[in-house]
């Protein structure tokens, strides 16, 4: 299968801090790649670089063979990359349906068509009962669902999920894992940043581990969790003895 997302030698500094250093990775079509690492490892920064919220100091991001560096976030979304935010950012005073319609309008400006597409995405994430609820009244998991539905309504080919499971309880994590699994089954390419290892092991085809902005390991989930460097990054040296 072809690589649909290729990141090459991405670099980003914030003052003296090298937030992302020479990061390269690629994702095959239809695969789910998990990006893990301790807090501050550069995961969210990488997301912001890929989706146009930050400009990299150097490096390139290719999606479907097209360079994304230099494009604005809305252009990148139009190219088929949709993202969620680490902290859900619903449009609070809009209803669930209106929120998701905002995403749907990207592909069709007609209200009726957008409404239908939005309803499909809402049904997919299981929020149909709350279509008319103002987004600000939703619980945390429902806000995450809403963000996913809004992203899905833009008809992405690559979905970037930034910690969609943080703060969820066990049952909710299971539900979220099932949802991501369904998306993968539909053939969507997924890049997921996550801390919940149980979830990562369940959904990821490959894992890339970041620490201090650098890639320290990459491979199949089973390989990565047994990797000495990874364990050190998370638990400190000597912990694996």
């Amino acid at each position: 299968m072809a690589d649909v997302l290729v990141v090459r030698n991405l670099d980003k500094r914030f003052g003296g801090l090298r937030a992302v250093a020479d990061l390269s990775l690629s994702v095959e079509e239809g695969q789910t790649l998990a990006l893990i690492g301790p807090n501050g490892a550069g995961k969210s920064t990488s997301f912001n670089l890929i989706t146009g919220y930050f400009r990299p100091d150097s490096g390139s991001v290719l999606a479907f063979g097209r360079e994304l560096v230099g494009l604005e976030p809305y252009d990148i979304c139009a190219h088929g990359l949709a993202r969620t935010f680490q902290v859900a950012r619903p449009f609070g005073k809009m209803t669930v349906l209106e929120n998701v319609m905002t995403g749907a309008f990207l592909r069709d400006k007609k209200v009726r068509a957008a409404r239908e597409r939005a309803r499909e995405a809402i049904a997919f994430v299981g929020l149909s009962a709350k279509e008319e609820t103002p987004a600000r009244d939703l619980t945390t998991i429902d806000q995450r669902r809403l963000e996913m539905a809004r992203a899905l309504a833009t008809e992405p080919r690559i979905l970037l999920l930034d910690e969609v499971m943080a703060g969820l309880n066990h049952t909710e994590i299971d539900q979220a894992v099932a949802l991501v699994g369904q998306l993968a089954k539909r053939g969507l390419t997924i890049v997921i940043v996550e801390h919940v290892m149980r979830a990562i092991m369940a959904v990821a085809n490959r894992i890339v581990v970041l620490d201090h902005g650098q890639k320290i390991a990459e491979g199949l989930p089973q390989e990565v969790v047994a990797n000495k460097e990874v364990i050190e990054a998370y638990l400190g040296t000597g912990a694996h003895a």
Binding site: T51, Y53, E72, P73, Y74, C77, A78, A82, R83, T84, F85, R89, P90, F91, G92, K93, M94, E98, M101, T102, G103, F105, L106, K109, K110, V111, A114, R150, A151, A153, T154
Partner: protein
């Protein structure tokens, strides 16, 4: 559908027959001002309310509309009806560079930058002596009853022109609100970054709504000069216009179709009555009372007063079955 349209039809009928019941020039003058400022509020609200781009510089467009039509009228003998549209176009053209500069800023910085743009235009027009009469301004030559030149002997025609402008503003807002554009504007107003993540071209939608808002505001400027027969930079680019535009929307209900109308109906007559009751005897007191009313409304109902009315209306409709 019928139930939804009913209050609008009732309001429209009241507005149409109201001049019959207004006896004095003072009363009809208040009515004209209510309609005019409601219209300016509606124009402001498209950008400031729906997209939450809080401009405090809409006087720039009010003034450009006023000056464009007046210059065309006095120097070239062009009817203000044509000047009306020309002023709108000048305002749209001006909104492009102004928006290009100001939209780089967000929140309060944006508001401050827009204040500056209106002030700069006022200063420029103070200097334009040959071209726009400088600081003294000019009166509009009175031609008697000349409808084609937007001049009338009675006040009622002005009332109906202002009503027409307001109707245009409301129809434009209504159409935008129901379309993708309304959705995009609210999305940008709620969270610009999140909107861009789902494909909303925020800079473009802000530019577009600024064009529309500037155009409409300029129409109000042209009309106002024709109504008071006088123009000078302090009137045309008055900071009061910018503030009133925002204020009526905020008090009535920001980002709602009827909010600016309700806000103006409450504020404009209050201000005029306080002025006539207290202005002469205790100078300055009317402004204090006005400010206290504003503070009370904003503390008590920060989202505007429209919510109260719609809730009450729903209760009545439901009681009817």
């Amino acid at each position: 559908m019928v139930k939804k349209a009913a209050p609008v039809i009732v309001l429209a009928l009241i507005a149409l027959i109201l001049p019959v019941f207004l006896r004095t020039g003072f009363e009809i003058d208040i009515a004209v001002r209510v309609l005019l400022f409601a219209f300016i509020g509606v124009a402001w609200n498209l950008m400031g309310g729906y997209a939450k781009q809080l401009s405090l510089g809409h006087a720039a467009y009010f003034g450009l509309g006023a000056y464009t039509s007046t210059i065309l009228l006095i120097k070239f003998g062009v009817s203000p009806w044509i000047g009306l549209i020309a002023g709108g176009i000048v305002a749209m053209l001006a909104s492009l560079p102004i928006g290009w500069l100001c939209f780089r800023l967000r929140g309060p910085y944006f508001a401050i930058a827009t204040i500056a743009t209106a002030q700069v235009l006022m200063l420029l027009f103070l200097k334009f002596r040959d071209f726009a009469w400088g600081a003294e301004g000019t009166t509009i030559p009175f031609l008697g009853n000349a409808p084609l030149m937007m001049q009338f002997s009675g006040k009622a025609p002005y009332y109906y022109i202002a009503l027409g402008l307001l109707a245009i503003g409301l129809v434009v807002t209504w159409a935008i609100e129901r379309s993708w554009m309304g959705n995009y504007l609210v999305a940008v107003g709620e969270d610009e970054d999140a909107a861009e993540a789902v494909g909303v071209n925020a800079p473009r939608i802000k530019r577009d709504i600024y064009l529309i808002s500037a155009f409409l505001t300029a129409l109000a400027g042209t009309f106002y000069v024709q109504y008071i027969y006088f123009i000078d930079p302090n009137t045309a680019f008055s900071f009061n216009v910018s503030v009133e535009a925002a204020l009526v929307s905020i008090v009535g209900g920001i980002g709602t179709l009827w909010g600016p109308v309700l806000g103006t109906i409450l504020l404009e007559p209050t201000s005029a009555l306080l002025q006539s009751l207290l202005g002469a005897s205790h100078g300055g007191v009317q402004l204090t009372v006005y400010a206290l009313i504003l503070i009370a409304v904003i503390l008590w109902r920060p989202t505007g007063l429209l919510g109260l009315i719609t809730d009450a209306y729903r209760r009545i409709v439901r009681a009817d079955g």
